[in-house]
């Protein structure tokens, strides 16, 4: 076994760190620090995303025939981890989940406009899966697309359509055969957000992050905006889930918070002159964070390695998702205890970006345990696919 990066992988990591350091201009840093812009969409964000496209990072892991470099999953993980570490709101779902699927299955029109735009860093796509009545049970979705000659007419409502406020398209799952079993009557479409009949209303979350309800009212789309075969959409939805789940729980950002809190504790004195890091319980909290982080890092490394080997098991992605998301919450708590009451100040109250990040992260972290496939369902997958236990009613 060799449980560390190879010399080439370490070099790549350094190269990416250096590159991202350059990418973060003062203007970009300032834009992302402003309330409401931390999830991206501002001009500096757009500029940086275009640069990432130009420099080949977006297409890094895409297949060669789709214009990519076919980087290994480990190299891709190194990039993902580093960019998440910086706090840049990289649109993973666009670049990792939707993009390659569209490139493979879409019409000439979609490939020329949407896919090329994604690769250039000019296009962001929001995900239109969940509905008020279809969350974890995604296949229960009701939004309808009805064929009318060469066109489709789309009607329905989606919820939690994050990033829709600045996205160029929605990657939409719609029911095209109401009589088929629920997984077999779904088709995928790309809906331009400037289409007539498209509208949205914001939903503000506990984490101050905006998401949206999106509405589709008699939207007429040419058949070219359909992706994949009619009624074959379910496979396209589930095909990219493993990479998506892995990018949800990279250890970079959590580790960055740990490093910065530890540095702060080692350089800050208490009133009686001892260093914060010399308090027994502070050390104990830092040790607990480190113990959890090490496992998370290895879980991610092993998965990336297994993807490259083609040996990734179904339960593995679920292990990462459950463990990672639950660890994040524990991580924020342990680190906030060290910083104390100052960690409860809103992020814009802080001169220090780190301390603000801690307050921001704990508020946004709670969505991860149920988002991206709720953890109870992941545990069902683990019991079934990992331990061969018979399933109950699901």
């Amino acid at each position: 076994m060799q449980i560390e990066f190879s010399a080439e992988q370490k070099a790549l990591q350094q190269e990416i760190k250096h590159y991202l350091n350059q990418l973060f201009t003062p203007e970009l840093t300032a834009e992302l620090a402003a309330a409401g812009a931390e999830e991206g969409g501002g001009p500096e964000f757009r500029k940086a995303l275009r640069k990432l496209g130009e420099d080949g990072y977006i297409s890094m892991s895409w297949p060669k025939e789709l214009g990519g470099n076919e980087a290994s999953a480990i190299d891709q993980y190194i990039f993902t981890e580093e960019i998440i570490r910086t706090g840049f709101p990289y649109p993973f779902l666009t670049t990792e989940a939707c993009g390659p699927v569209m490139a493979q299955h879409a019409s000439e029109l979609v490939r020329e406009t949407v896919v090329k735009g994604i690769l250039k860093g000019e296009v962001v796509v929001a995900i239109g899966y969940s509905e008020p009545g279809a969350g974890t049970d995604l296949a229960a979705l009701q939004t309808k697309a009805v064929r009318d000659g060469d066109e489709w007419v789309i009607n329905g409502q989606k919820i939690w359509t994050s990033l829709a406020e600045y996205s160029d398209y929605v990657w939409l799952a719609a029911r095209t055969d109401p009589d088929a079993p629920k997984h077999k009557g779904i088709t995928m479409f790309v809906v331009p957000t400037d289409a007539v009949g498209f509208s949205m209303s914001p939903i503000w979350t506990l984490g101050s992050v905006r998401t949206n309800a999106t509405f589709y009212e008699n939207i007429r789309l040419k058949d070219e905006w359909r992706v994949g075969d009619v009624n074959q959409g379910w496979k396209l939805i589930t095909g990219q889930l493993n990479r998506e789940r892995l990018s949800l729980v990279t250890h970079g950002q959590a580790e960055e918070l740990y490093l910065r809190v530890a540095r702060w504790a080692a350089s800050t004195e208490t009133a009686n002159g001892e260093m914060i890091i010399d308090r027994a319980w502070v050390r104990s909290n830092l040790a607990k964070v480190r113990v959890g982080l090490e496992a998370l890092k290895l879980v991610c490394w092993k998965q990336a390695w297994a993807m490259d080997k083609g040996t990734l098991q179904m339960a593995d992605a679920s292990v990462a998702k459950v463990y990672g998301t639950e660890f994040f919450l524990e991580n924020y708590r342990l680190l906030m205890e060290i910083v104390g009451q100052a960690s409860t100040l809103r992020r814009d109250e802080h001169g220090d970006a780190l301390m603000g990040a801690l307050e921001h992260r704990y508020r946004t972290g709670s969505i991860l345990t149920f988002g991206g496939g709720t953890n109870e369902v992941q545990r069902e997958i683990i019991a079934g696919a990992g331990l061969w236990m018979p399933r109950g009613r699901l």
Binding site: E4, A262, R283, L286, A287, E294, A295, E380, A383, M389
Partner: protein
Amino acid sequence: MNFELTEDQRDVQALARKIIEDYCSNEQLREFDQGERFDEALWQELGKAGLLGIAIEEQYGGMGFDFETLCLLVEEVGRCVAPLPIVPSLVLAALLVQRFAHSEVKNNVLPDVASGKSMLIAALGDVDDCGVLSSRMQAKRVDSGWKLDGEKRFVPFASRAQLLLVSAQTDDGVGVYLLPSDSSGVSMQRHTSTAGEYQYSLALENVRLSNQQCILSGEQAASALFEVNNLGVAATCAQILGICDVMLRTTAAYTSEREQFGVKVATFQAVGQRAADSYIDVECLRLVTQKAIYAVEHEASQEALAACLVAKIWAGDAGHRVSHASQHLHGGMGVDRDYSLWRYCLWAKQLELTLGNSAESTERLGQEIAEEFKALEQ
């Protein structure tokens, strides 16, 4: 990055598994539930197959594999809760001799360890410390050599061992001594541990040793003990991993067969969810253990120490959780001595408290972290 075993390692693993499983059915293990928990025949069989010398260099009668491969054998011992002194003998004692002693000592000791002809056991730990780094036993220079006085506790198999490896405090740092277990002045008191293992309190009173019997001293002894402590911790984690993996699979299999209310118990969501939590624990334990085993061989000493502490904390915590989840999900069968699970649960607890428990390892890791970051700030 590579998480795969080599072909040779897979062969060793398969051989170890085959031999150990042949000796460790529930019925066979029952014979060792009373009296001394040691399977001499299995020990000899492993010696014959070369597995006791798996990580001993070829020139000393071993097979010359690395520590990682030795840990595969340790994991198999865990998987079968085999009644063998694997870590105190093959890791803590034999590896200390192999890596740090003079070639003359190695020539005298290691070939017989590899063949199973004699047993070498480490008595390095102290009265009140689970690790092997400190020692209250005193060694004084006398004209012809050394005089040792003091106590060692929790020494398994001391009465079986022909040779003991003992650490003691000298006027000039710590020393490591090699002595026959029947040396004059050595007395033993037997205790039975929670897992049913005989462990001994060793009292050394005016034990006279020659200069040659002091195999390590000063800085060299201290760094040997540091390294061997890491090796012992990493190997113990491998043993706990084997134990936990079997507890988990046994529980999944049992609940998939057992019926209540007319359905398989495993189909109740509360059961599946708890088993999944154990699965996550075992996967994390596997990875941090593999990392610790890798780090002690390939990374700088402070990183190796941190990796070992991380692994031991996981082993303690996951061992505790998986053990109790397994007992619980088995219902009465989990505690029935006619069924196999109970031995695993006892061993998980025994090893959780061996060579550093979660709380003290957390304290030590915190100390390491504090030193690391204070150094960065200076």
